[in-house]
């Protein structure tokens, strides 16, 4: 079905490595394995065209401007724009989509070749100039695009009507993942010019669906794009995506038949639906919910104090409250092929040892007690409840007081960026690619809000970017996981996982996009 992926390219080893990791972790909520192969049907039946589905979603894009289509809303934007490439964690493949091929010889200079004859839904050409126009927009700081950091020191140009060349500032064999997410959604330049800021509400792309109607804050109706490049797709005539922010309500909407499928955030909720006969799917992510320690803070940078905090943290208790299944014992999940517990795991709970370390810190700093600030995001139970529990858990140590402070997401992010905090409860990482570990733990990582700097970790993460040898990359990931689990600049209690539940007749849920929701153009209804 797909046009073949040109093998001249050195397909990125890091992507393959990431795929292996995710394939190992991609299982049903109850442990049921995912399908492999390219068949979009879980039952092996051939896809049937026609019909309408209603999906629930927990978040809608603030705008359908590709610059604002961040990871959490990727699948909605992907339906309208498609993407240059698609990554399928179930089959370990990077498949071509709008781009026919992506090639590199050195990991620094990349050539993206587009399919011939692609058009946007307004009839204009989806060509190299359109890609360049979009990347120029993404690079403009005013557009606040996630891809702007990626493009900031890169150069790009249209070589011919179907070829774009991009030169990165440094070798990065993991670059293709950006062609799915940050840089992969391409809109019609003509529509950008004519609609201006209105484009975000009336997007024009070349994806499988056309945005027919968007009642912001409620639902979006997508209709089949009759001119979609891939023959026979999408299978559905239309798709309604209904915004229901509460996890329980989304599950109930599925039970009541108001929606046919829904993403979930709580593994236990997925387990309950599975027990009731619904099909459930999951996709491992990089990262999870936990605490981030600001290592630039004088008190938190003290090994004894941080050791006391880490050894008095009860992850299992927090997980119980957060309705998650297994508590994290290292940064990567247990079934990850790159995890080697001999290289390091999170410190185990040991209250006596924790008290000793705290006493040592207090004695050395000449204090009788210490107060530590713990920030969390107001109004998000999965972050507020753990903060309250941590306050109680850490409160068991004599001489330690925890002050919980709640902020809105924008303020919290600002405080993290500015390093103006001590400890924060947050959701670290996201997305299927292990590249995220570079962002979180490298000294120069864009999400290293902890001020973490470990030369061994930096060296390993540099290998991850610069190498195209899967074995070397695997070894580097194992080193990083072991070291960051020992150092625990971020101490997660749950592994991030994308969960999806669907009625029995909903097919084609796999492959899934980065956060565990399916590609909409792959969905169909069994007879």
């Amino acid at each position: 079905m797909y046009v073949s992926w040109r093998k001249k390219a050195q397909v990125s080893a890091i992507m393959v490595a990431s795929a292996l990791m995710l394939a190992a972790c991609s299982t049903g909520a109850g442990g049921e394995g995912t399908d492999t192969g390219t068949s979009p049907s879980a039952t092996g039946d051939s896809p049937v065209s026609g019909g309408n589905l209603t999906l629930a979603t927990l978040i809608e894009p603030p705008s359908y401007d590709p610059a604002r289509c961040y990871m959490a809303v990727f699948q909605a934007c992907h339906a309208v724009f498609g993407s240059l490439i698609e990554y399928d964690p179930a089959t370990n493949e990077i498949t071509p989509a709008m781009a026919e091929s992506v090639e590199t010889e050195d990991g620094k200079s990349w050539t993206v070749r587009l399919r011939d004859g692609l058009t946007f839904s307004d009839g204009t050409a989806y060509d190299a100039d359109a890609v360049v126009y979009n990347w120029d927009r993404l690079a403009d700081p005013v557009n606040l695009a996630q891809g702007s950091a990626r493009l900031s020191e890169s150069t790009w140009r249209a070589v011919d009507p179907l070829t774009v060349e991009l030169v990165l500032p440094a070798v990065d064999f993991g670059f293709p993942s950006s062609l799915q997410f940050d840089l992969g959604l391409i809109g019609s330049p003509a529509a950008f010019d004519s609609l201006g800021d209105g484009f975000g509400a009336a997007p024009v792309g070349a994806g499988a669906f056309l945005l027919e109607n968007w009642v912001q804050g409620s639902e979006v109706t997508l209709a089949r794009n009759p001119d979609y490049w891939e023959e026979g797709r999408p299978y559905l005539d239309s798709l309604t995506v209904q915004l229901i922010t509460n996890d329980t309500q989304r599950a109930d909407a599925l039970r009541a038949g108001s929606v046919n499928a829904t993403p979930l955030t709580e593994p236990l909720a997925a387990q309950e639906l599975k027990d009731e006969g619904y099909a459930t799917y999951s996709l491992a992510q990089t990262g999870g919910n936990g605490v981030g320690f600001n290592l630039t803070d004088e008190a938190i940078s003290d090994d004894d104090l941080r050791g006391a905090l880490l050894e008095s943290l009860d992850a299992a208790q927090i997980n119980q409250v957060a309705r998650h299944l297994d508590a994290a014992t290292a940064f990567l999940p247990p079934d990850n092929p790159f995890r080697d517990d001999a290289l390091g795991v999170y410190p185990e709970k040991d209250l006596a040892s924790a008290q000793k370390q705290l006493d040592a810190y207090l004695k050395r700093s000449g204090q009788s007690s210490v107060e530590i600030s713990l920030l969390t995001q107001a109004g998000v139970p999965s972050l507020v409840k753990p903060a309250e529990l941590l306050q109680a858990q850490w409160g068991e140590l004599e001489g330690l007081t925890i002050k919980v402070e709640s902020f809105d997401s924008a303020t919290l992010r600002g405080l993290q960026r500015a390093g103006d905090y001590q400890i924060v409860v947050w959701t670290a990482g996201g997305g299927p690619s292990l590249n995220k570990m570079y962002d979180l733990f490298h000294t120069d990582g864009v999400e290293n809000y902890q001020g973490y700097s470990n030369p061994d970790v930096d060296a390993a993460l540099d290998v991850v970017k610069s190498s195209n040898d899967p074995e070397e990359i695997a070894e580097a990931f194992a080193t990083v996981n072991g070291q960051v689990s020992l150092d625990a600049p971020i101490r997660t209690w749950t592994h991030r996982i994308g969960l999806f539940a669907a009625a029995e007749d909903v097919e084609g849920v796999e492959p899934m996009t980065g956060l565990g929701t399916p590609y909409f153009d792959n969905l169909w209804i069994s007879e």
């Binding site: 695009a145 804050g217 409620s218 108001s258 960026r417």
Partner: protein
């Protein structure tokens, strides 16, 4: 004497109208200051990972956040007075457009909730005042106590559980535009309207019943009864109009509250109204949206209550002479 009374009444009515812009000005200043003085920077919620200081500065400049507070307020008010409510930080769409998309949902929800509450409360309030301690009165007293004790979010979830999840008679939530499917539109409205109307209805019944009982004891009512006037005429013509003072006052407050404040109900039922809109905006620090919605709610609230002030004389001639 008469001219003195007239001038006092005129002065009072004039003050009701003159005080409107003053109150609105105070509301805008308070809202603006509250949002501006909150810790943190709204831009932080927008910046992507790895954003540079240059990017932050550009965005701050684009939204005028680098200007002094007074200048920002002046710019915003100048825009508001010319019909420009600014641009949403999150969606980059004009705030006025976004509000116009959502306000009809909240207005319709408030309209039906008030209407349903009144349709139930007026006859029940009148009858229970006419027959105190009767079966309906006892039933209403027990029911209203129970309803008052149930918060709207609990009632909403309960109604969803029974009518959507168990009986599957009504949808779980969501909004169906009337133009797309009129029947679906009203089916989607039933549960949120009932959730909102329940609390208002109980309040209306209690207020109307109390006032009616007092009115029914007045001389002109007793005299009407002695003259053998029909009961319906005594209740509706001689008692209800006079007893509706407090009801009209509360009605005004309820309308204002429901238009801008049905936050929980809109969230539970996934309705794209102003309430859920403002919650999302507060979370994202989309201050342009929050300022505009608060301003709109304040305007509506004040207008409705000014209208209520002006309606009093129509309900009772004695007010005109007061």
């Amino acid at each position: 004497m008469s001219s003195l009374l007239t001038s006092r009444v005129v002065r009072r009515r004039a003050w009701s109208i003159i005080s409107l812009p003053i109150l609105l000005f105070l509301v805008t200043v308070a809202t603006f200051l509250m949002l501006s003085l909150m810790p943190g920077d709204p831009v932080d919620g927008l910046l992507p990972s790895g954003a540079t200081d240059e990017m932050r500065d550009e965005i701050r400049s684009e939204y005028g956040l680098d200007l002094p507070l007074a200048q920002r307020y002046l710019n915003w008010m100048t825009g508001v007075l010319s019909g420009d409510l600014g641009v949403s930080l999150q969606s980059r769409q004009p705030v006025a457009t976004l509000i116009l998309e959502r306000a009809p949902v909240s207005l319709e929800l408030a309209f039906w909730a008030i209407l349903v509450a009144l349709v139930i409360a007026v006859p029940v309030g009148i009858y229970t005042a006419y027959r105190p301690n009767g079966a309906l009165d006892r039933l209403t007293s027990a029911g209203s106590s129970a309803l008052l004790a149930i918060p709207s979010f609990v009632l909403g979830v309960l109604l969803l559980f029974v009518f959507a999840l168990q009986l599957r008679l009504l949808p779980m939530g969501g909004w169906v535009p009337f133009s797309e499917d009129p029947i679906g539109h009203f089916r989607a409205l039933i549960l949120p309207v009932l959730t909102l109307a329940a609390g208002e209805c109980v309040l209306f019944i209690r207020i109307l019943k109390g006032d009616m009982i007092a009115t029914l004891k007045q001389d002109h009512v007793l005299s009407g009864r002695a003259r053998g006037l029909p009961t319906w005429r005594i209740l509706l013509r001689h008692s209800f109009r006079q007893s509706s003072f407090s009801l009209v006052t509360v009605l005004g407050l309820s309308i204002g509250r429901l238009i801008g404040g049905a936050i929980i109900v809109e969230t539970i039922f996934s309705l794209p109204g102003l309430g859920s809109f403002v919650v999302a905006a507060v979370t994202a620090r989309d201050f342009m949206v929050v300022q505009a919605v608060v301003l709109l709610s304040a305007v509506l609230y004040l207008l409705v209550n000014t209208a209520v002030d002006l309606i009093y004389p129509l309900l009772d001639p004695r007010v005109r002479k007061a």
